[in-house]
Symmetry: C2
């Protein structure tokens, strides 16, 4: 186990009806807020009205900015920063999924910064202050509701970049599984893939002696696999969505990565698909993770064999370790297929003529990943494996 | 899953050499501290000198109070409160295990309260402020380093009582597994039992649909069982002690209990053994938990069968559910025995003439536990089963 520090002080407010406490929670931080959301599904579902009622009861002044799209765009973020500055806003309430939360975090970073917010994502600026952010979650997936990360897209150049800071931890996250009942099946499936991906990035490590976090990762993966299969077949199943929702948060709140060197190559490979072709993050994951696994498993067969044995219950005694390791990857692909997720670039209708360009962009800041260092040539081969 | 709120903002500082950062961490909260510790083992081990050096480097003024014993006594706590008041102390640093931390928390409660600190434990006072507490942990066991609880003993009447408040969460917990290398085998074993007990109190619930926290509990239990067996045979094994140390914190930081109704009857039954006969907490656990399990398993055989199958890998297909449930309890007893822990009152040399008195004291505030409500008669029968 490696030395580490861990602190996560997001307050989790979980369960039925919890969205009604938004106003009361916000009052601890501010009275004038930006309500940030996506394409308007929260208006159709009635969530918007409930939230506005809670805010009104707490006499909170509300400015609004909707329109966040998947792979949130820096242009809308700049607009949000403008609204916050003009109106001296002191709190941002994100109502939505990972894109809305990430957009809110990026807005919170830019308000007190004199330059352009993209500077942070280019490594040209250091974050010194940010507005507090709170979350009402509607999609169990990204884990951004209790993470230190935001990932946004600069449409000018189709670049997707992340930024980390403990200042980006949301003050509270309201998680009511009922708010997910209107999600389309595909989005539930993508969410499950995303939760698993956050766990994989921590699980597949070369760090030795990490028994506890291994077991916690495995337990979370099993829970997500079992419950996502139920959730996509039985829409509106509270119990299954509750498991996915709490798992989405725990998968990315930092605890599963304690004492381990994390990887994150697959995410970067997937980000290129999203940046170039607008592929939903979860679908980029279900394609890129199995391909990455096939490319790297030989660098630590034990770990992949453990994954197969413990997560997919494949008897460790059957066949050799290599067989077992590969069997686990196949089981993962089968699981993604059962959920209706793509596992190849062909299914995503991604043309093969830009694989080299994507490989080049993925490693533009140097080799990616830690399980195995992935350079441009490796990245290209992984994209080839994903065809 | 039940509705819940969860927040835990203790900063975990884990790994080799981390005790040297104590001074720097404390400076965020105060400059004049009470250094609170136990019987002086920290002086023999050299930890005391290292800590004093770190405090000196940060120009922190130190007042000292050693002498905390297992099942920390309210008399010493009153003395600590006096020292804090007289010297206008603004921070308490606990260096030790659960008893030292609990004693520190109790001192922190009493400093700004005009009455006697025991009032809080009698339900006669509400906690309105407390001094900040930091921890350097030397025994992986109690989980008090990141919990909202303190349990202390009033020698006048031999009463052991707990108090909960989010104000009692330590500001930081320094966890260096090397600091456990001088622990006697019996204390490592007691610690493992204590960690498991905190998990059992959450795991054995009647709440349905708690898959994720079930899996997390099971993963933690397996880790503790495997690594404690190594730790008691190979003293000074960093990796094994690191797993136990991080497990001790996670088992009791609240996350494993999210969305579940917890039990805590076994702890209260064990507390009577400690209060009357000074039995080490971990040893009271290894005796009382199996007895409690034998008494209550019939109220939810599924849950005990799941415990046997998932934690002890007993094939679910063998025999009937009742057999499986009982087999899991036997495996737990075997494990405690392998660790050198007692599993009967006879081994603890507890006379049988006061079982009725203990049963009466255990339920003095009303029935205990939630898995099954335990009244005086039940408590007596459980003590009988523990003979």
């Amino acid at each position: 186990m490696e030395n580490f520090t861990f602190k996560n002080d997001t307050k989790i407010i979980f369960g039925k009806g919890t969205e009604n406490s938004a106003g009361k929670e916000i009052l601890k931080y501010g009275k004038k807020i930006l309500l940030h959301y996506g394409g308007g599904s929260i208006k159709k579902s009635g969530l918007y009205d409930k939230v506005m009622k809670s805010l009104k009861e707490s006499s909170i002044t509300v400015f609004e900015l909707g329109g966040v799209k998947p792979n949130p765009a820096v242009s809308l973020i700049r607009q949000g920063i403008g609204i916050c500055r003009e109106n001296k806003i002191d709190f941002i309430l994100a109502v939505g999924g990972g894109s809305v939360i990430d957009s809110s975090k990026a807005i919170s970073m830019g308000v007190n910064y004199s330059g352009d917010v993209w500077d942070f994502f280019e490594g040209k600026a250091k974050l010194e202050s940010s507005l507090p952010v709170g979350v009402i979650l509607t999609i169990p997936a990204a884990g951004s509701e209790s993470s230190v990360v935001t990932v946004i897209t600069n449409e000018d150049g189709l670049i997707k970049r992340g930024f980390h800071s403990s200042m980006l931890l949301p003050k509270f996250a309201i998680l009511n599984p009922e708010l997910t009942f209107t999600l389309p099946v595909f989005q539930i499936a993508c969410g499950a893939a995303d939760i698993l991906a956050h766990t994989f990035e921590r699980y597949f490590t070369q760090t030795k002696n990490v028994d506890l976090t291994d077991r916690l990762c495995e337990g979370l993966m099993k829970t997500v696999i079992e419950n996502s299969k139920i959730a996509v077949k039985d829409l509106g199943n509270y119990d299954a969505m509750a498991e996915l929702m709490w798992a989405s948060t725990i998968a990315h709140n930092g605890i599963l990565g304690t004492g381990r060197v994390e990887d994150w190559a697959s995410h970067k490979l997937g980000h290129e698909l999203s940046a170039l072709y607008g592929i939903t993050h979860g679908a980029s994951i279900s394609v890129m993770f199995p391909a990455w696994m096939k490319y790297v498993y030989k660098y630590n067969i034990d770990r992949f064999a453990q994954f197969a044995a413990r997560v997919f219950n494949i008897d460790y005694g059957f066949g050799d370790e290599q067989w077992l390791a590969l069997r686990g990857i196949t089981e993962l692909e089968n699981y993604f297929k059962e959920l209706g997720l793509p596992t190849t670039l062909t299914e995503l209708k991604v043309p093969f003529d830009k694989l080299e360009l994507m490989a080049e962009k993925a490693v533009v800041k140097g080799p990616i990943g830690n399980f195995v260092k992935i350079n441009k040539e490796d990245a290209f081969k992984i994209y080839e494996l994903a065809k």
